[in-house]
């Protein structure tokens, strides 16, 4: 690691003030950033520890749930209201990392974690536009089994690694941000960028901005939701593909639905095309598969990840089948 100065923020205002300098980064649980620093992929001069800021999960007056950015992953997954109202979120978190990492990692840090593309991490041996803009991308023609099939660019085919964010995307979560220019909110689906020609920029946050909270709006049918993750081993692995979905039936038809995919793009992929096709339609395997196929109609598979559109589509069909027959666990 390169040398840095460390300071712990005790209030939000302090954190924003302290975080304003150049080459300053905020530190949450450290499960990604400490590793990035050790690999010299992150070289901050100052580290502002925000992991001790208030970490509350509280209901708001309008039925939303406000989750402090310093809340640990385990605390969010085990919260009674998350388990009962947003089970897809509990399940997404519990499908990620290991118990030790979930005990350390914060909600804010989960949002801002970086890709696990092996070429991004291989600073000595590989070219990477995310690490060094303009250098080139060795993943595009390399071993790209884990890489993106939707929304990628010539410059970058990395995926966003978070499970939590896939559920947050499906749940229309709102991200609260504080920075030198004040507070703002933005939909989680707008936080992460597609790579375009600037894959070094993972999110739309500007320098000095700090995620302070994630707000979950009420979802009438959130209780009928789940998360399914497909991976190369059954635990402690990143997703090949994953699906977060919630369904409300209206008689024997789909009244409303929320769907997001993980492991397929540079950001959690909210499946608006599939949702629109399914809404008001029949709850049949045929309809589920057609919706998945439509969502992946523009997929651009690479050498090693051509299985992803079909795998994601079948996983979607399985999840929707379970949610529409009341057997979602």
């Amino acid at each position: 690691m390169t040398p840095f100065a460390y300071a712990r923020a005790t209030t939000l205002d302090d954190a924003v003030t302290m975080g304003a300098g150049d080459r300053t980064m905020f530190l949450g649980g450290g499960t990604n950033l400490v590793d990035l620093m050790r690999e010299r992929l992150a070289q901050p001069d100052r580290l502002i520890d925000v992991s001790a800021l208030p970490a509350a999960i509280a209901e708001t007056g309008d039925g939303a749930l406000m989750i402090g950015a310093a809340v640990r992953n385990t605390a969010l997954a085990e919260h009674p209201l998350v388990r009962s109202r947003y089970p897809m979120l509990s399940r997404a978190i519990l499908a990620g990392a290991s118990a030790q990492i979930r005990n350390m990692a914060t909600v804010g840090g989960n949002l801002l974690q970086r890709t696990r593309c092996t070429y991004f991490y291989d600073a000595e041996g590989s070219r990477c536009n995310k690490r060094e803009p303009g250098a080139g991308c060795d993943a595009r023609d390399g071993f790209n089994r884990i890489h993106a099939v939707l929304g990628a660019s010539d410059a970058c085919v990395a995926t966003h690694p978070s499970d939590m964010c896939v559920a947050l995307s499906a749940l229309d979560a709102v991200v609260h941000v504080a920075g030198p220019q004040g507070h703002r909110t933005l939909p989680l689906v707008d936080l992460h960028r597609l790579p375009g020609d600037r894959p070094d920029r993972d999110t739309v946050l500007t320098p000095g901005e700090l995620v302070t909270a994630v707000e979950l709006p009420p979802l009438r049918f959130g209780a009928n939701s789940t998360y399914r993750k497909v991976r190369d081993r059954s635990s402690y692995a990143f997703a090949l593909v994953s699906v977060a979905a919630a369904v409300e039936m209206a008689g024997d038809r789909i009244g409303d639905v929320r769907i997001a995919f993980g492991g397929v793009a540079h950001k959690p992929w909210r499946a608006l095309t599939a949702e629109a096709m399914l809404r008001g339609g029949p709850a049949t395997a045929q309809a589920f598969l057609a919706a998945g196929q439509a969502e992946f109609a523009d997929a651009q598979p690479l050498r090693d990840n051509g299985f992803k559109p079909a795998l994601a589509t079948r996983t979607l069909a399985a999840v929707l089948g379970a949610l529409t027959t009341g057997d979602a666990a």
Partner: protein, 168 residues
């Protein structure tokens, strides 16, 4: 600033780059905690902080000022082994032993999580009671690798120790 390791107040390192793992091993000579991958993939460095299991390799020591750290050196009572230590011996829950301190600290943390009702990805009902089947222990201990392949003995040891009332 200081932290508390195995009930003793100790100084923090002056350099903020020092991980909790390196501080334990090299600063405090508590070498029971092991460095495996040093990147959060193997679990050998697992310790308990305020009773919760974490990876000390991904923890900057300064970040844990004022917290209570328990390492493998702190879990026995005098010469009386912690029930999980005895169970690991009884069930051959190790060969080379390198992952064992992390396995045992992780299992202690896991028991606390189970008693608190923390669900797992295997839970059919997220709010139901937890039965620690072999599969459930495998899932909850998946962050601790054993390259000797002693996992079956490890799972046997943990399940037996829990059955006989082991706790943190």
């Amino acid at each position: 600033m200081s932290l508390i390791v195995n009930e003793t107040e100790v100084a923090l390192p002056a350099d903020p780059r020092v991980s909790l793992l390196d501080h334990l091993r090299e600063g405090l000579q508590l070498t029971g905690t092991k460095k495996g991958c040093n990147q959060g993939a193997c679990g050998a460095c697992t310790v308990l902080v305020d009773g919760e299991r974490i990876l000390s390799c991904l923890a900057l020591a300064v970040q844990y000022a004022g917290r209570r750290v328990t390492t493998i050196e702190g879990i026995a009572t005098g010469d009386a082994l912690h029930p999980l230590q005895q169970a690991f011996i009884d069930h051959d829950g190790f060969q080379c032993g390198y992952c064992t301190p992390g396995q045992i600290c992780s299992a202690i943390g896991m028991v606390a999580e189970v008693r608190r009702g923390v669900p797992s990805v295997l839970s059919d009902d997220l709010s139901a009671g937890i039965e620690l089947t072999r599969q459930e222990v495998q899932e909850r201990m998946s962050g601790n690798l054993c390259r000797c392949g002693a996992h079956n003995g490890i799972i046997d040891a943990i399940r037996e120790a829990i059955g006989t009332g082991a706790d943190a």
